[in-house]
């Protein structure tokens, strides 16, 4: 079972410049020295009073203009950012297909890279090894998998990353924009595969600017504005309001 509960979550980013990072400034501050450095560093309030509760089966879309806090919220949901205040309770395994090439090594072969990706996704070596064949087949890269990754084109590397990343179904799937890879034929294949993963995940949170996509995959929408929830509800209703606000 997977569930997510955010209660009154605030997230404040401290922005460190050279001065705030300087040890001397910090020591002087502690000593109350004559040189009074500015006491507070700049902060950015990225999220403010977020409440949400998600259960198995929820399909949530996140909308809002750039800087509204979508990615930050996704990172709170992925347990990457601890809330500055409020509580975040998140149960279940999480996978965010945000950086799908993480852990790949250009000097290692395609097969090795599949293994690396699966380990970074949290599998054990034996689990990963048993999945390699399926991932390799799906990637359609054939004998290229014996060559080092640096010999691949960008598209081929992406295919490999995509095939590995979508081979595991997490309890909670967090997506910052839809992912896909490859040329026309692979695109179709990859779309079917990601749809399967989306369906199989217990909770889906998808942030996107593509409203049609959200209509397809999400049954509720959270509209973020300046770090606050501006509106939430069934997809059609919120998207209509959003479209009106845009035009």
């Amino acid at each position: 079972m997977a569930d997510i509960e955010l209660k009154n979550v605030d997230l404040v980013f401290p922005v460190y410049n050279a001065r705030a990072r300087s040890l001397r400034a910090h020591v002087l501050e502690q000593l109350g020295g004559v040189l009074k450095p500015q006491k507070k560093h700049v902060t950015v309030q990225a999220l403010c009073g977020i409440n949400m509760k998600l259960r198995d089966g929820d399909r949530v879309g996140l909308i809002g203009h750039n800087g509204a806090g979508k990615t930050t919220l996704l990172r709170v949901l992925s347990r990457i950012y601890p809330p500055s205040s409020g509580t975040a309770t998140i149960r279940g395994s999480i996978s965010s297909l945000t950086n799908i090439t993480l852990g790949m090594d250009p000097e290692a072969t395609g097969y090795d890279n599949i293994l690396f990706r699966l380990i970074f996704l949290g599998l054990s070596f034996s689990e990963a090894k048993s999945k390699i064949k399926e991932v390799a087949e799906f990637s359609g890269l054939g004998d290229y998998l014996h060559l080092p990754l640096r010999t691949y084109s960008t598209g081929m590397a992406l295919r490999l990353a995509f095939a590995s990343g979508t081979s595991i179904v997490p309890d909670i799937l967090v997506l910052d924009e839809m992912i896909g890879a490859g040329d026309a034929t692979f695109r179709e294949k990859s779309l079917r595969r990601i749809e399967n993963t989306l369906d199989a995940a217990k909770i889906l949170v998808l942030a996107s600017h593509d409203l049609l996509l959200l209509e397809m995959y999400c049954d509720q929408i959270i509209w973020l504005d300046k770090g606050k929830i501006k509106k939430r509800g069934p997809t059609a209703k919120v998207l209509t309001a959003y479209r009106e606000a845009l035009s």
């Binding site: 050279a18 990072r21 040890l23 990457i80 950012y81 601890p82 290692a108 380990i119």
Partner: protein, 266 residues
């Protein structure tokens, strides 16, 4: 949160890091693999370049100090290998968290994972250098004896202290970027004031106690001296245990205390 609660939260981070040992293994190994991937000799270069360096050092220093090569060269060689094991991970620690920002930003990962990978990498390097140590034994026949067994607890204690120190350095240096340069300088000075290029015997006896205040000298002696058949000064074990214990209290406490903020320093 109480101080004790913060300490426990810090320990949990160490635990979580241990659970993701597979990622630590891949991270630790990847740099070595990339560095030697297209060279013909590959990872043999690890041992080879160390051998070249330490033999050159040993020859030059034994001439300069007017010491018999038979004693001094193996001393210099093994000392340098152990010195690298101790200090390389500390130096890497300064930038380790920010260098792995992409990892921390993509998935929940304990910071300890990266710290483990640093120390693990140096252990791999050390393992490659064992062949040089054996070479020194075979060629120069240092007066090895049963105290060689003490190498094992010495290494364990050193590795433990390295993990705690590396994490501590990583925390401070990630928050205060000036510390990165500071640490590099501290290690450089430590190289001079620690018996790395010289033997403790070169110091007048009456000043030898100074070395007990140099943690580098203490841990270096613990790991190195058994490998050379030299006796570890008795109080060094006590000092090393004391230092490690202190670090085992301070580091997890700080990790727990700042656990909510570290991510934003990266």
């Amino acid at each position: 949160m109480s101080i004790f609660g913060q300490y426990k939260a810090g320990l949990r981070d160490f635990q979580a890091g241990a659970k993701s040992w597979r990622i630590a293994h891949l991270l630790g190994y990847s740099l070595l693999r990339q560095r030697y991937s297209r060279s013909r000799l590959g990872q043999l270069w690890l041992s080879l370049s160390t051998a070249i360096t330490v033999i050159a050092f040993g020859l030059v220093w034994s001439l300069l100090w007017n010491q018999p090569i038979k004693v001094f060269l193996p001393y210099i060689a093994i000392t340098h290998i152990v010195w690298g094991l101790i200090t390389a991970s500390l130096q890497d620690a300064t930038t380790s968290l920010s260098a792995n920002g992409a990892l921390f930003g993509n998935q929940e990962t304990s910071f300890a994972t990266v710290i483990y990978s640093l120390v693990y990498r140096q252990l791999i390097v050390f393992a490659h250098n064992i062949i040089i140590i054996i070479g020194m034994w075979v060629y120069f026949k240092p007066p090895l004896n049963l105290t060689l067994i003490y190498f094992v607890p010495g290494l364990l204690l050193t590795v433990l202290a390295c993990v705690f120190t590396a994490y501590l350095i990583a925390l401070i240096a990630t928050r205060f970027r000036d510390v990165v340069q500071l640490i590099i300088n501290v290690i450089q000075i430590a190289y001079l004031v620690t018996p790395v290029m010289w033997m403790p015997e070169f110091m007048p006896k009456s000043y030898n106690w100074l070395l007990t205040f140099n943690p580098f000298a203490v841990f270096l002696s613990l790991t190195r001296d058994p490998l050379l058949g030299r006796a570890v000064p008795e109080n060094y074990w006590l000092i090393a245990c004391g230092i490690t214990l202190t670090l085992a209290i301070i580091t997890p406490y700080l990790v727990g205390r700042y656990s909510k903020r570290i991510m934003f320093w990266v």
